[in-house]
């Protein structure tokens, strides 16, 4: 692309703005506060979130499998009398299926959304939130 040097000089001379005094100091204060709070919150939320979701998924899957075991043929040490009506059982299964599908789709979409060019034509890929 051919450069227009007079225009470049004109724009650089007239449009280069300076920040207010104390800009760097104020910003560094914010940075220090952000990095301090990050140290306390990051491991609780970001790092363990996936493990919590995975553990919940495995637990619920096992629970569903257990509910399908024909207990009448198995000798169990306690009196098992709870019976779910078939309609309620179906509703619970449907709810759990829809819940997990919706959650996974949401995760996929929110990941893909950052790569889609937004309405301004600006790509948001890799931008930290």
């Amino acid at each position: 692309m051919k450069e227009d040097k007079p225009l470049k000089e004109l724009l650089q001379h007239n449009l280069m703005e300076e920040t207010s005094a104390g800009f760097t100091e104020r910003l560094m204060q914010r940075i220090n506060m952000a990095s301090a709070s990050e140290a306390y919150t990051r491991s609780i939320w970001q790092d363990k979130l996936f493990k919590i979701i995975a553990a919940s998924f495995i637990f619920i899957s096992l629970l569903l499998l257990l509910l399908n075991i024909p207990f009448d043929k198995v000798t169990i040490s306690f009196d098992w009398k709870s019976e779910l009506p078939s309609a309620s059982f179906l509703q619970i299964i449907q709810f759990l299926l829809v819940f997990w599908i919706a959650m996974i789709v949401n995760q996929l979409l929110s990941g893909a959304e950052r790569r889609i060019i937004n309405t301004n034509g600006i790509r948001e890929e890799h931008e930290p939130q």
Binding site: L7, L11, N14, E17, F23, G121, R123
Partner: protein
């Protein structure tokens, strides 16, 4: 600018020396602020955007892949932050659009008065503000932030040919605006 140095600084920041970030801030603060100002045309908003962008960049440093230079990555954050802010502001002040148009017209009408005061800076800004948003953005990134077409492509997501067309049209429109404004200045002086 100083890509190797920027990366060295980033490595030191990631190693725990957060104070080193002030070096990056001092290197880029005026260009970041000028870019934000070119998008939102308001000093207070531009300064807030510059601050937010630097904080976002700091938080995102661990995910910075060094595929592009720090400056390109930083400008992308600035552009996105500024456009989001502008979009939000438009939503909030939607009822004041007519008033804003009137204000803009008023500024143009009062141009000769400004020129009498030899305010070249305002004059250039007016011409630039009269351009289409994408033209203004491309011209600012190319001439003010001294980015290449491929870097602008990386920031905006626009195609290379589209950027070239926007730069050509933007230059043409900018000269037309300058000529138009100069004519009105001469008329007023006569």
């Amino acid at each position: 600018m100083n890509t190797a140095t920027d990366i060295e600084i980033i490595q030191q920041i990631l190693a725990g020396n957060t104070e080193m970030y002030s070096l990056l801030i001092n290197t880029y603060k005026n260009k970041v602020f000028s870019l934000a100002y070119a998008i939102v045309s308001n000093r207070e908003d531009a300064e807030e955007i510059a601050q937010d962008a630097f904080v976002k960049a700091f938080k995102g440093l661990p995910s910075f892949k060094e595929r592009s230079s720090f400056s390109t990555w930083m400008y992308r954050i600035v552009v996105n932050t500024a456009l989001n802010k502008k979009k939000l502001k438009k939503l909030v002040t939607v009822d004041k659009t007519d008033q804003a148009i009137q204000d803009k017209t008023f500024v143009f009408d009062s141009l000769p008065y400004n020129l009498k005061r030899d305010d070249q800076k305002k004059f250039i800004k007016m011409a630039l503000n009269a351009l289409y948003e994408q033209e203004k953005l491309c011209l600012t990134l190319f001439y003010l932030n001294e980015l290449s077409v491929s870097e602008i492509q990386e920031i905006t997501g626009l195609s290379e040919s589209n950027i070239k067309v926007l730069l050509l049209r933007g230059r043409k429109h900018l000269y037309e605006q300058l000529k138009r404004l100069l004519k009105s200045e001469v008329k007023n002086l006569i």
